[in-house]
Amino acid sequence: MALERIARKVPTSLWTILSEELIDITLNSTNAEKLPSDLAKTILYYWQRDQLATEVGLQRLLEATMLLEPEKTIELMDSLGMPELVIMLKEM
């Protein structure tokens, strides 16, 4: 639920850049093998349909990066100028 709220608060102007950065964190994570297969398949499903840069796509990507690389995810949100979302992520 928290990630759904967070994804909903991301400005649409940042959807594309955020989705690309989150997917890079996911693909290049040294913890990549910890990504659950069902979440990986969901991400592939949205990617195939060009839906990663949407609220629901971002929610899934955030779920992945918070699992694999929480610190990098928070740093990214901070660098993109979303302090409110940084607080929400830290409280999770």
Partner: protein, 333 residues
């Protein structure tokens, strides 16, 4: 028109390979090849999931070999894939990677006869025939698939040495030339032509001619170089002497690299691979440098340029770079 292919190594987690495969399809690659080495994830498992997440891109093992897998098993595998993705399956076949074969003490015996016979067996078994075969290498008494195939599967032969190139021209539907330098490709084409003439086939019209390159593109040359070095090491270690000689590389250097790979001494591998080896066996550098090198290869008359591993230091970004900065130079549509 030259088509572009891309190669992935299933050393990566399945979802990463599939992510890149979807990206390759979206960005306009026509072919997708997945390598086959016993110590990576299984090629057909990787291709199965790729087939489920893509709609257009043609794909296949690139390349499998008949030393690890009997040709009837390869025929079964590609025929099964063809059921999931009709008309999209291609089959790359080669004599195997010496380094990997050595790890399990498989000798690369009679490579020419082995490939010639394997092509015939795969072709006939996938066409639904009940096969009887008494060859120099394989002996089959009544092999038939219990399911039908809708369309034939083109067989591409991965080749580097003169005799294998000739054979590829003669019996393949396509050739995958393991090379990146125009000098090697030009030389390879001479032998492929001899083979295709022997079989009465026209180059390009009756035979796809692919160049399978080790590729690494990045905005910074050094990053591209670092990413490509381990792949060039494998190429040099498995390279026929005649090709090493053409580039002024000693067999001793090649053997040293091979030994370092077998023993997992990656620091040694990096120190033995020279910039000259990278230049000879890869397309590597900034987009502008890669465009220049690709252009030289395309002018030789090839039909497919395969962007092979590692693709770049960040695969996702490198695929986008290829699509945005490289493809427009070679496509008018």
């Amino acid at each position: 028109m030259t088509e572009f292919g891309i190669e992935f190594v299933p050393r990566d987690l399945y979802w990463k390979t599939t992510y890149y495969a979807i990206q390759a399809e979206k960005t306009g690659f026509t072919y997708l090849w997945i390598t086959d080495h016993f110590n990576n994830r299984n090629v057909y498992v990787a291709l199965s999931i790729v087939s489920a997440y893509t709609d257009k891109i043609k794909f296949g093992p690139g390349v499998t070999n008949p030393y690890f897998f009997h040709p009837v098993v390869t025929a079964q595998a590609v025929a099964s894939l063809n059921e999931i993705a009709p008309g999209r399956v291609i089959c790359g076949l080669g004599a195997g990677d010496k380094t990997t074969l050595k790890m399990v003490n498989i000798r690369q015996k009679n490579p020419l006869s082995t490939i010639r016979e394997a092509v015939q067996i795969i072709r006939e078994v996938t066409s639904g025939k009940n096969m009887e075969f008494d060859g120099e290498v394989f002996n089959i008494s009544g092999a038939k698939l219990n399911f039908r195939m809708a369309s034939p599967i083109p067989i591409f032969i991965g080749a580097q040495g003169p005799k294998m190139l000739m054979l590829a021209g003669e019996v393949g539907d396509g050739v995958l030339i393991n090379a990146a330098s125009p000098k090697d490709v030009e030389n390879a084409l001479l032998f492929i032509r001899k083979g295709s003439e022997k079989a009465g086939k026209r180059m390009k019209e009756d035979l796809d001619i692919g160049v399978y390159t080790s590729f690494s593109v990045a905005q910074e040359k050094e990053k591209a170089m670092k990413a490509v070095t381990p792949v060039v090491a494998y190429i040099v270690a498995g390279c026929p002497e005649i090709v090493l000689e053409r580039h002024g590389i000693s067999v001793e250097s090649s053997n040293k690299i091979g030994e370092a790979i077998v023993h997992g001494k990656w620091k040694d591998v990096f120190s033995h691979v020279t910039p000259e080896m990278v230049e000879a066996f890869s397309i590597c550098g900034t987009p502008a440098v890669c465009i220049e090198k690709i252009d030289k290869l395309l002018k030789l008359g090839i039909t497919q340029l395969v962007v092979g591993s590692p693709i770049g230091p960040n695969v996702r970004k490198s695929i986008n770079t290829i699509a945005v900065e490289i493809f427009p130079h070679f496509r008018t549509d």
